[in-house]
């Protein structure tokens, strides 16, 4: 029997703020299997980022249990089990694109030859071959975000956590990157946790859609996608796609008390 890659049981997280406690996560139960593409969707403040940060051991739950690859998130972080992509590309302006992708490899002590080979491989995965020697300011926003994805793919982590990676990009660029991300997921076989605000994006990408709602942040619905693994962009006009999108929208509406 295979154990889940990420397993959360009765997870609670309360931030103590100056305005009193904020319950960012309430009784979250979720398990993610190897190779899943899981999207987290919900309005601002529903705890999507917080949950992702808990998985990455950047935030610590107040109660409940959470395991990543069967071990604690802290141990998983030390074992460098995941790559994390933030909303902003956050490339170092003083490093070239290749230099930026090399950053985690240098920190993790890969050999020089291995570094070169990996940089070349991941840059071609995200379609940035020719841009290795460019500096970040010479690239468009979409290309910078692709470079930051390459950086998260460069080392051998089997989990990829992405927090609204395309949130700041326009729709056309976003469509292209979504398509590329699916290809990447298919070729690398990684388990992906993906935060988004966009219903079509969530439905298009995911094998599992987690609908969340705020105050307190909690999961209101988990939808297993019935779409095939092979997904051309025009699948978004199919009846099946629209049905899933409808269910997501219903879940969001149900969780959202319009008071």
């Amino acid at each position: 029997m295979r154990s889940p890659v990420i397993d959360a049981k009765d997870l609670n997280l309360i931030f103590e703020t100056n305005d009193g406690p904020v319950q960012a996560l309430k009784d979250v139960n979720l398990s993610i299997e190897r190779g899943d593409f899981v999207s987290f969707i919900g309005p601002s403040g529903c705890g999507k980022t917080t949950f992702l940060r808990c998985i990455a051991a950047l935030e610590h739950p107040t109660s409940g249990s959470l395991t990543v690859n069967g071990i604690s998130p802290e141990e998983a972080r030390k074992a460098r089990s995941y790559g994390y992509v933030f909303q902003a590309a956050g490339l170092y302006p003083w490093r070239t694109i290749a230099g930026n992708v090399k950053l985690p490899l240098e920190i993790m002590g890969y050999t020089q030859a291995d570094q070169e080979a990996r940089v070349e491989k991941v840059l071609s995965l995200v379609d940035l071959q020719g841009f290795a020697k460019k500096f970040p300011w010479q690239l468009s926003g979409g290309m910078q975000q692709r470079a930051s994805i390459a950086r998260a793919l460069a080392f051998d982590a089997d989990i990829l956590l992405m927090d609204e990676p395309f949130g700041a990009l326009d729709e056309i660029v976003r469509d292209r990157l979504n398509e590329e991300l699916l290809k990447l997921w298919a070729t690398t076989g990684k388990t992906i946790g993906f935060v988004t605000h966009s219903i079509p994006e969530a439905v298009y990408l995911s094998t599992k859609i987690v609908v969340m709602s705020p105050r307190p942040g909690r999961i209101t619905d988990v939808i297993e996608s019935t779409l095939p693994k092979e997904r051309p962009l025009d699948i978004r006009d199919s009846a099946e796609f629209l049905a899933i999108a409808h269910r997501v929208r219903e879940g969001l509406r149900a969780g959202h008390a319009y008071d």
């Binding site: 950047l58 933030f86 902003a88 956050g90 240098e106 300011w137």
Partner: protein, 288 residues
């Protein structure tokens, strides 16, 4: 280029005009006194021409300062004690020694402050307090005390220069080392990077623009510190000593020439730091 040079020339011309008017006005008293003592009348034009050619004017005219400066720079062997180049060299070497010491101290303290909360709490207040002490007041004491301990020459001057220049470097470096935002620090945590890796790969490169900005302030402060340290009685070398001996003997032209010498030196030093900054940041891809 033409556009930027015209306003500068206009301001310069205005300054020269005001300066000449000021020289005539301030020096006229002496001309009238001399005339009264000799029992002669002076016309306005005689008065003007006299005020611009006095040997010890209250305010030397621009051309007198220019001539004094030229004589001091080109009119002497540069090893001569009358050469401004000689004195500028003495001041320059003490400034560089002090600037080097101050920069190293500032950077090391900043690294300590950023990495240790205890140092942040203990060092910063003292560093700020240190700068509220008027250096003009304590420089002579420091020089005298060090001289009585047998420490003379360049070192005492360098210490005062370092005292003035470490502070801007410290403040700039603390700011620069703290420039990386939470997201960039989180990214390194996801790699399980050590503090040392975070320092060398993120904090230090991110601080470079801040470092250079404060180096420009620091090198000018080091020059001021050196000149102040050359003022106390006994110093015979350096631009500060030139200023002081000029004022002893009422050699106002010498004072002004030394002042301009110091200003030119300051401008050159800041310029050199600026060039090093441009080259470094460009090589690092941080300037376009």
């Amino acid at each position: 280029m033409k556009k930027s040079i015209l306003p500068i020339l206009t301001v310069l011309a205005a300054i020269v005009v005001i300066w000449y008017a000021g020289a005539v006005w301030l020096n006229s008293q002496w001309t009238y006194d001399q005339a009264a003592r000799a029992g002669v009348e002076v016309t306005f034009s005689e008065m003007v021409s006299d005020t611009l050619t006095q040997a010890r004017p209250v305010l030397p005219a621009p051309h007198q300062v220019a001539k004094g400066l030229w004589d001091g720079i080109a009119g002497q062997k540069i090893t001569s004690k009358r050469s401004l180049v000689y004195h500028a060299w003495i001041t320059f070497s003490a400034t560089m020694a002090g600037f080097g010491l101050g920069t190293i101290a500032g950077i090391l303290l900043a690294v300590g402050i950023v990495h240790s909360r205890a140092m942040d709490m203990s060092v910063m207040p003292w560093a700020i307090a240190s700068q509220t002490i008027p250096i003009l007041a304590i420089a002579p004491m420091v020089i005298v005390v060090l001289a009585s301990l047998g420490i003379k020459g360049m070192l005492p001057k360098a210490i005062i220069a370092a005292y003035l220049s470490f502070f801007p470097v410290l403040v700039g470096m603390v700011k620069g080392l703290r420039a990386p935002d939470a997201m960039q620090l989180d990214l390194l945590r996801t790699y399980n990077a050590s503090d040392a890796q975070g320092f060398w790969k993120l904090r230090l490169p991110a601080s470079m623009p801040y470092l250079f900005a404060s180096l420009k302030v620091g090198i000018a402060a080091a020059l001021v510190g050196t000149i102040v340290a050359e003022l106390p009685a006994g110093a015979t070398q350096g631009l500060g000593a030139r200023l002081l001996s000029g004022s002893y003997y009422g050699q106002t032209i010498q004072i002004w020439a030394a002042l301009f010498g110091a200003a030119i030196l300051a401008a050159l030093l800041v310029l050199v730091v600026g060039v090093v900054e441009r080259i470094t940041l460009k090589r690092k891809g941080m300037a376009q």
